[in-house]
């Protein structure tokens, strides 16, 4: 085993020294690592001069575009199919005069069926929104009025000097024990 490795290393060494001179074919079996680059013969399998076009890698760009296309179409196609089927099978509504004694529901003021659905099941009716806003305004006006009144009362009490907010509670004067200071000789 050791002898074999010596032969192999010797053949490799000789091959490296003189690569053009092949001693024997059997040396190829022994030597694995042989520098063959100087000996390469360029063989054109075609008629012309084929060039290796050196370009920067387009792998990352193409991968990005593929992924983009995939993720956009993943939800894009079902949505498009859905909207197309709604437009084909259900279709837009027609404008009509409001019949007498009939108050249309708030969603019946829209044309497209998907808008109507959203107005019916997702959004609150505009009347309700209006009333909500008015309720907020009412609460804020009440708060503002309360604060204004409070300020005015505080101002009056401060000016006059008396008033429940500017009184410090003290003990009842009848509870004071005056016996300690009632006679001058205490």
């Amino acid at each position: 085993m050791v002898g074999m490795s010596i032969f192999r290393s010797a053949a490799a060494f000789t091959a490296r020294l003189n690569p053009l001179k092949r001693t024997s074919q059997s040396s190829n079996l022994l030597s694995r690592a042989v520098a063959r680059s100087e000996q390469v013969v360029v063989r054109h399998g075609s008629h012309g001069k084929r060039m290796f076009m050196i370009q920067p890698s387009s792998f990352y760009d193409r991968r990005f575009l593929k992924l983009l296309k995939f993720y956009v179409l993943l939800t894009g196609i079902p949505v498009a199919v859905f909207v197309t089927s709604v437009n084909v099978f259900i279709g837009d509504c027609e404008l009509a005069e409001t019949p007498e004694d009939y108050e249309p529901e708030h969603w019946e003021y829209y044309k497209h069926p998907i808008t109507r659905w959203i107005a019916r099941y997702v959004y609150d009716s505009p009347v309700k929104d209006y009333e909500k806003m008015m309720a907020l305004i009412q609460m804020e006006t009440e708060k503002a009025e309360m604060r204004k009144m409070q300020n005015e009362v505080r101002q009056h009490m401060r000016e006059k000097g008396d008033g429940p907010w500017f009184q410090i509670p003290t003990l009842d004067k009848d509870l004071i024990d005056n016996s300690l200071k009632s006679t001058p000789d205490n």
């Binding site: 084909v88 099978f89 259900i90 279709g91 509504c93 027609e94 404008l95 009509a96 005069e97 409001t98 249309p104 019946e108 003021y109 829209y110 044309k111 069926p113 109507r116 209006y130 806003m133 008015m134 305004i137 009412q138 804020e140 006006t141």
Partner: protein, 170 residues
């Protein structure tokens, strides 16, 4: 059913067109283009629509035009009555939208008139031009330059300013 468009505002061209006095033997390209358009675009689209309409069947849904009640305006509100202010503001916004649409209708009429008359629109469309000028001037004097945060209050102040200027002029 909603009314058809106003036939007086958009008059149709006369049915008896005068004889064409063609100076050239070249066929009118517009006629050719309209024929091409009809056969390549109009017919397929109309047949497709016919097929689609058959899918829908006879169940038709309707949508209506919402009419809002009039509420007291900003000048009729008590001071400090913020609810009244809010309702007046909403009404003013709706009126603003309506006025914008009115100006757009006037613009459309003028455009249609110009298209109909061709090069002689300057003298034939006087009525439409006058109408458009009046409406756009009125719109500009009422709503113009209010800015992005225009409100009923600002519009009222603008009106007050206008009235004061008019009073000063006299």
């Amino acid at each position: 059913m909603p009314q058809d468009y106003n036939k007086d505002a958009y008059p149709e061209p006369p049915s008896r067109t005068p004889m064409e006095n063609k100076q050239t033997a070249v066929p009118n390209p517009v006629v050719l283009i309209t024929k091409v358009f009809y056969y390549t675009v109009d017919l397929p689209v109309s047949t497709f629509r016919g097929i689609v309409e058959r899918f829908r069947g006879d169940k038709k849904a309707y949508y209506y035009h919402q009419k809002f009640r009039r509420v007291p305006e900003l000048t009729q509100c008590q001071q400090g009555d913020f609810l009244c202010y809010y309702e007046a503001e909403m009404q003013w916004r709706r009126d603003y939208k309506v006025d914008q649409e009115i100006v757009k209708v006037m613009q459309n009429r003028l455009k249609a008139c110009q298209q109909r008359e061709g090069h002689s629109y300057v003298q034939n469309c006087q009525k439409e031009i006058k109408q458009f000028n009046e409406t756009s001037k009125a719109f500009q004097s009422r709503y113009g330059d209010l800015g992005a945060y225009g409100s009923a209050r600002k519009c009222l102040m603008k009106q007050k300013d206008r009235m004061m200027k008019e009073a000063q002029k006299e």
